[in-house]
Amino acid sequence: MDWRGWAEIVFTIALTVAVGWPLGIYMARVWARETTPLDLVLKPVEAGFYAALGIDRNKGQNWLGYAGAVLAFGAAGFALLYAMLRLQGFLPLNPQGFDGVSPHLAFNTAVSFVTNTNWQSYGGETTLSSLSQMAGLTVQNFVSAGAGLAIAAAVARAFAADRGETLGNFWVDLTRSVLYVLLPVSILTALALVAAGVPQSLLANITAKTLEGADQIIALFPVASQEAIKQWGTNGGGLFNVNSAHPLENPTPLTNLIEVVSLNALAFGTVIAFGRVAGARKEARALLTAMVILVGLGAAAIYSSETLTPQPAMVAAGITDAPANLEGKEARFGAAASSIWAAQTTGASNGSVNSMHGSFMPLGGGVAMFLMQLGEILPGGVGSGLYGMVVMALLAVFVAGLMVGRTPEYLGKKVESREIKFAMLAVLILPLAILGFSAIAAVLPVALEGLLNKGPRGLSEILYAYSSAAGNNGSAFAGLTANAPWWNTTLGIAMLLGRFAYMVPVIAMAGAIAAKPKLAPTAGTLPSDSPLFVGLLIGIILILGGLQFFPALALGPIVEHFQVLAATR
């Protein structure tokens, strides 16, 4: 490790927050349907959408109506994408002439993109046509992120309401989040990426004649446009098999900075927007502080692991001066840029990678896994990270309330049994999906066939896969060959649980909170903008995640770490 590496990590996090902050202020205006500079262009488009959808933009939905719309939209998106992938061979814009995708892979991929996970069982450049990439995957990259933002807006309104009956209108929140936020930032980012070297082409493969006379087939795609929304929408599904490690997706340290900042900026911005809409700016800043502290600690832990842990293979080969683990890392990024990306992508349910987590040292990979298991709230997916963090904040004030024997309040709303039941229902989905499926896969021969590495690393491949799927992350210990019926199906189910079985209780919780009267704080209220509260929140997040997952992590990354130490002594 070196000072430049630490400086790059600190600078990256600081820049991400600095970009996200004004975006959040802008997004609060979008959610509140206030005027924006883009109205001139987008107002007519927006009005056209509502007319075609046949909705009344001023009619709010109660929590059941809102949740119903979310589910209907997810179902329609799944059906369209599944059909498109299956029929790929008959559809246009298929210069490589790929066949239709197998049923289990189409199921997995469609679920993966509708749930904002973007788990890649497919190898992009060898499986999917340009049409599938653009009209299928890119569309879901936008709208699954838009759906997450819409729910964040609904949760924010729930706290602002005083005996409110509605949470807003899902179709309006979705349309405005996509048109006014995701689309403009993606266009700007895509053009910036092209300028910095990322291709954007509709040509088929190009054949180069190398200097030594061999043919090299170079796969080109409209990369930049998908890269931009893949990052902004915390989607993470790459055009290429190796995602943002591919030099055409991410050719320079500058494109890397653009991509890693856009990976987290909007999720941080969502917290700021929440604070404005809910009328709780200071409290939102406390949530943001907790996120930054935890993701920063994660990045520091991964960077330390990748640079300080001795490497058995190097020691065995007699290479004594090995300052960093570079297996699976690109020369242009090195350990620091790979570590900060790994922390930001696993803290954020993005799942894009610029290095192969499957070759990380045990604790580095373990921290990446733990960041996902903490609930994808650091800062989490766009929208979903915010509402996950609010759930944690409710649990934190609830625990604090139990300690002093008072009914807890958060942002002027009494937190009572109904809200806590919904919150617990939501947070229990993760251990159920992750540990339940992992336990079965660990003893099932058909599942074990997919593993590349043996022993604790093999268990880590399983655990990482289900953590990634249930957390809607999408990154992998890619040694796992997941494109097989068992893995495609169970990972698809884990993704659905992690997305919708989390979302619906959260919307129900928002409905319950909206219906309560808004109270003024009293002397007995725990201030939720203080350092004490930030500490309490971090404690709850770590204790909850640790209690659930530490036994499994002890059998995977932790025991492997001691094996590495033993092998290099």
Binding site: P199, I206, M314, G318, G328, R332, F333, P362
Partner: protein, 193 residues
């Protein structure tokens, strides 16, 4: 639920047209007009106009007279630009240990200099266009001997194609392998070797 049917279906159709077609095609048009070289994949052509590669895609140079890239896990022979892949081997994997041992022995047969980590590790993509400056410097005597030219001049060609950390802050110092080899061939054309 029935009330949601129309907006769900209609919105998916509209979003597909706007985000799946208009957005990527619009960005493609703008990108091709504003930055045609980058948008087309940063391809490099030789004097007769043939494409010899992309600036960003590594090639599997084996010749002694060329700067060699890092090991690659992409495709059977490495550097398969249509099938990117890392090795995904964990730190205790026996295959990884065996591969690094073999590679290290081959490198030691060439030179007693210390072996830089990137010379025996595969990249994430298997298409890494760069090597570290230490890795390049270690290869200078071999390249100079194969081309029968002074080592200092080879080192100068490498130095001219070396980039530092961007803004002194981002990423690692690196040498573009294809750019170096094109420059070497331009300086000392193959026929004269």
């Amino acid at each position: 639920m029935i009330a949601n049917l129309r907006p769900a279906i209609v919105s998916m159709v509209l979003f597909t047209v706007l985000l799946g077609l208009a957005y990527p095609l619009g960005v493609t048009g703008l990108a091709q007009a504003l930055f045609p070289a980058q948008a087309g994949g940063s391809l490099i052509r030789n004097a007769s106009g043939e494409i010899v590669g992309s600036r960003w895609i590594g090639q599997n140079f084996k010749d002694e007279a060329y700067l060699r890239p890092r090991p690659s896990a992409a495709g059977k022979d490495g550097y398969d630009a249509a099938g990117s892949s890392g090795s995904n081997l964990g730190p205790l994997n026996e295959d990884l240990a065996a591969r690094i041992k073999t590679d290290a022995e081959a490198l030691r047969a060439e030179s007693p200099a210390p072996i830089p980590v990137d010379a025996v590790t595969t990249s994430g993509s298997g298409l890494d266009p760069h090597v570290s400056p230490a890795n390049a410097a270690r290869q200078v005597p071999r390249i100079a001997a194969a081309r029968k030219v002074p080592a200092a001049e080879v080192q100068a060609v490498i130095a001219a194609n070396t980039e530092g950390s961007t803004f002194g802050l981002l990423g690692e110092p690196r040498v573009n392998v294809l750019a170096v080899n094109l420059a070497l061939d331009a300086r000392w054309p193959r026929a004269q070797r």
